[in-house]
Subunit: 286 residues, 2 copies
């Protein structure tokens, strides 16, 4: 789907897109998706949107404009419903991207109704891709854009084994890659090295980028990397990580295959941590 | 320098760091750095900070805490002073990272004095790494964290030539890599493909990550990538790009060497676009 950035910024084109009889509206239950019988995202007609809500232009597919409704639904943290996550994992990649965009932006509007610079109310602009603190309404004129927060998620390898950890909120036996936000003034590589030092007490080298994936809980860009360390001694930050350990190739393969005898439960396939582990396994077996 | 995240969140440790007689204070002129005679960043003593300003804990180097003052200086756009940029380019990498952190955060505090969720005033917390909308002050309790905005900057290669473009604000003859923000719901690779389609009208494949660098004007994380296209026909978005062209290896090398006969002026060495071009030249010559 074309994100149609030139339509967003053109009020006439935006109105024409909204008026098209074939224009679609993404069905949401709060911030959660509504699924059709076949497990794909459910769409209604734009004409059925509430006149009280602003609309978000998700994009244009062929000649069909796709919108979502800015309902004011916000989210304070990750969605923890395993059945929902299973459904999300089965979405086609383009549908997952559309839902990620809608979820992040509906939530962003709900939690950014006021101007951070002057405190006045702001309003949606550019088809939902900005908020303006309007001077005509007594504001300062600042324009605000949706956040995308880069997060590094990383493996470290030592003597043929790979480091995984448990956050206190994980389900029993689940281990995954460590992760943390990239801070102002850091590179991706610097953030990976800092996080592994802070959370696990290891000094790493040879940080390598593997892949990236949007993660709309609420607005992260997950950036997956590998790294290498020479000393496996761990010093955990127990506020962040309740347990961490080095796992062998065979142990990781058993966990990813879902073996009951595996020493841990792997992250689910739609999480980038799963693909990062798969990348590591493939590298070992090359 | 250790960013000392465990000190940020511990008011007692933070106070002890502030009280250390050797604690340093970064000298800033608004958002710009102050340089010592040898071209390095200038530092004073924390004791000389204004009691009216909150302090930002930049980190701890050995046993020396380093702070910056949250002066309220904000920035609306890129710094355009060539002499300053020359000086910045000569900083050692660790000093450049410290300055980037300080500039991004001083600016972020200046432009985020109010809660985006409820409009009430917020206050600095966690050694300057968060702002709180305090319930005791009538706020909603939301905690806000500094932004880091991921930006892709990319080359595309076609038939042995590389695509560079000019933004209207560039100095005469300067060409550089195209760039754009990663949007909610996108991967890095998806953002590269979308930007090249929107700005240059080309369809690309084989997007590859090369390197990343913080860019504190005001708070970007630059993510440099290469890509390949099979059709060199360009359709420019003239609001963003006033001119774009394919350049040969010899033309790029002449520009990077500063030859007067080169067909364009290359980006400066401290910009990630320069390193991206250098990576491309090295790949061609391998």
């Amino acid at each position: 789907m074309d994100r149609a950035d030139q339509v967003r910024v053109n009020p006439e084109k935006l109105r024409a897109a909204f008026m098209k009889p074939n224009a679609k509206l993404l069905q949401l239950d709060g911030l959660n998706p509504v699924f059709d019988m076949d497990g794909s995202l459910s769409w209604g007609a734009v004409i059925d949107a509430s006149p009280d809500n602003d609309l978000l232009l998700l994009g244009i597919d062929g000649d069909v404009p796709h919108f979502a409704e800015l309902t004011g639904a916000g989210d304070a943290g990750p969605a923890a419903n395993p059945a929902l996550w299973q459904m999300l994992g089965n979405l086609r990649p383009n549908e997952a991207a559309i839902y990620a965009t809608a979820r992040s932006l509906v939530d962003w509007h709900a939690r950014h109704r006021f101007c951070a610079q002057c405190g006045n109310p702001t309003g949606s602009r550019k088809g939902g891709w900005a908020r303006l603190c309007g001077k005509d309404e007594g504001g300062c004129g600042a324009e605000h854009f949706p956040r995308t927060d880069p997060v590094t998620i990383m493996l470290s390898e030592c003597q043929g084994k790979v480091l995984l950890g448990r956050q206190p909120r994980f389900p029993p036996k689940r281990f995954s890659a460590l992760a943390g936000f990239v801070e102002p003034g850091e590179s991706i590589e610097g953030a990976v090295a800092r996080e592994l030092w802070e959370e696990a007490g290891i000094k790493v080298r040879d940080v390598r980028y593997v892949a990236s994936q949007p993660w709309p809980f609420p607005s992260s860009l997950m950036i997956a990397c590998t790294s290498v360390t020479d000393d496996p001694a761990l010093t955990l930050d127990e506020d962040e990580i309740e347990e961490a350990a080095w796992f062998s190739l065979d142990e990781v393969k058993a966990a990813m295959a879902g073996d009951a005898s595996a020493p841990f439960i792997a992250p689910p396939p739609f999480a980038i941590a799963y693909n990062l582990l798969k990348h590591w396994v493939d590298e070992q077996e090359r």
